[in-house]
């Protein structure tokens, strides 16, 4: 180059100073900066390539790194700290009716097979509903049932008990208590044996918990 000699007349800043300059440029620029660009912006006679080696070493192990992007350079977050750049927004939603009913049936009737749940709910249980309850950690797959086809059963987990403040699933209030609490329609079903007539309402439950 014609002006090479002319430029060498100016004394280049010390390498530590060049390092500072690159640090500032890489920080303030939105795009990665090429060596050529760096050289163009720094005082004549600067050696950005060498200064970069120093700068890069200085940032080793730090929270940000001097990285090469193609033929340009940039400052980026250290990979192991990427989690800091994420903000978790927790959204709380109510369980769907299908899910809460399925959960209730599992809790009251465990171990319960899918067929049993469907029989009690009167509708089929979508795979998603049980998956969701399992994902929530409230329901897990229990032992297979000793019946034809050996279907899997579902049981509630310790996390379920923890969430609902129960010591055991047996602590769940029975129908009689539900009615006393006003949760059951007290109107006697027409022509039917009234529900919760003393102790007859839980008859199918104890054995279900018994064989665990």
């Amino acid at each position: 180059m014609a002006d090479r000699d002319e430029q060498s007349l100016f004394e280049a800043p010390p390498i530590a100073e060049q390092e500072r300059m690159i640090e500032a440029i890489l920080f303030a620029t939105s795009e990665p900066v090429t060596l050529q660009d760096l050289a163009g912006r720094m005082p004549h006679g600067s050696d950005p390539a060498e200064a970069l080696v120093h700068l890069r070493r200085r940032y080793e192990g730090r929270g940000v790194q001097v990285v090469r992007v193609g033929d340009a350079w940039a400052i980026r977050t250290a990979a192991d700290l990427g989690f800091l750049m994420r903000k978790e927004v927790v959204e709380t939603r109510k369980l769907s009716r299908a899910a809460i009913e399925t959960l209730a049936i599992v809790a009251y009737h465990q171990p319960a097979t899918r067929a049993e749940i469907e029989e009690i709910r009167g509708v089929s249980v979508s795979r998603g509903t049980l998956d969701q309850l399992i994902e929530l950690g409230w329901v897990k797959i229990g032992r297979r049932k000793m019946s034809p086809g050996r279907p899997v059963t579902f049981v509630v987990t310790p996390e379920f008990l923890d969430h609902f403040g129960l010591e055991t699933a047996r602590d769940l209030p029975g129908l009689k208590e539900l009615r006393a609490a006003g949760l059951l329609d007290s109107r006697p079903p027409p022509g039917l044996i009234p529900i919760g007539d003393g102790d007859g309402d839980n008859e199918d439950q104890p054995d279900m918990f018994g064989d665990e």
Binding site: A24, F27, A28, T29, S30, E31, A74, T77, M85, R86, K87, E88, V89, V90, E91, T92, R93, K94, L95, R97, A98, A99, I100, E101, L103, A104, I105, A107, Y108, I120, R121, G122, V123, S124, V125, S126, Q132, L136, F164, G165, L166, L172, P173, L175, L178, R179, A181, L183, L184, D185, P189, P190, G191, L192, I195
Partner: protein, 263 residues
């Protein structure tokens, strides 16, 4: 000769004074600004300034503006009137019967105002002389926005659980009297049925062709199955698995598998 000389001398002096005073009224930010400019000619601390002399200077300024037919805004004239009044208060011996602040108090306050305005001017200059962001120092050029991750947690209370169970049990007891479940098909059933079929769907086909066998004859069952299948197909369309169309009102509803390119 000498008279002429004097005359010329005076007119030069007047001209200089006029030039010094009347630069351009539009350049002043109000009477206080003019007073501040005039006070600088006294070359003393603003707190020591002679308000009497300043009032004199200001009145001259207003007079000259009038001579030059420069129209002064009302507040310049109000200030002139006030300074004329202040001047008389300062010159005349105090009248003990007069209420209100003395001429000295008023003059002191004007000194304070001038000093305060000048202090603010200097501070403003110092402020603007500081290193400024975007000019002398810079913020990060590349702002990584914090990525927001949505996590959904589901909650339910023991009460929800009990109510749900109570609901089911109550329904059970009523069931033989309320429903004839034979003719009821739930959307979930229809969904379970349709889902595995999506993979086999070809081009547009009537929804009715997807009704389960055995549900097409009895009108009640057919109605239930059609409704459930339709609801299920809407759900699948919402999930992006199928397309759904109807050419006009009451025309057959058609569905097909969604083509992959836009999904």
């Amino acid at each position: 000769m000498s008279g002429d000389f004097e005359e010329i001398g005076q007119s030069v002096g007047d001209r200089l004074a006029a030039e010094a005073l009347i630069v351009d009224v539009g350049a002043y930010e109000g009477p206080l600004d003019v007073l501040l400019m005039l006070s600088r000619t006294q070359k003393v601390d603003l707190r020591q300034i002679s308000i009497l002399a300043l009032a004199e200077q200001y009145l001259t300024f207003v007079e000259q503006a009038k001579e030059l037919r420069i129209e002064l805004a009302a507040d310049y004239l109000v200030m002139a009137a006030w300074l004329a009044y202040l001047k008389s208060r300062l010159l005349l011996p105090p009248d003990p019967s007069e209420e209100g602040p003395s001429g000295e108090e008023l003059a002191a306050h004007l000194q304070f105002q001038l000093a305060r305005l000048e202090a603010m001017r200097e501070s403003a200059a110092k402020l603007m002389g500081r290193d400024q962001k975007g000019r002398d120092f810079f913020a990060r050029g590349l702002s990584l926005d914090v990525e927001r991750v949505r996590r959904v947690t589901y909650t339910a209370t023991l009460l929800d659980l009990m109510q749900a169970y109570a609901r089911i049990r109550t329904r059970d007891d009523f069931r033989p009297f309320v429903f004839d479940r034979d003719a009821v098909m739930s959307m979930e059933q229809a969904l379970d049925r349709l889902r595995p079929l999506i993979g086999h769907m070809g081009d547009w086909a009537d929804l009715s062709s997807y009704l389960p066998t055995g549900w097409g004859e009895d009108p009640a069952r057919r109605r239930a199955a059609t409704a459930a299948t339709f609801a299920a197909s809407l759900e699948l369309a919402k999930e992006g698995h199928i397309d759904i169309r109807q050419s006009e009102t009451f025309a057959p509803i058609q569905i097909r598998r969604k083509t992959r390119d836009n999904g």
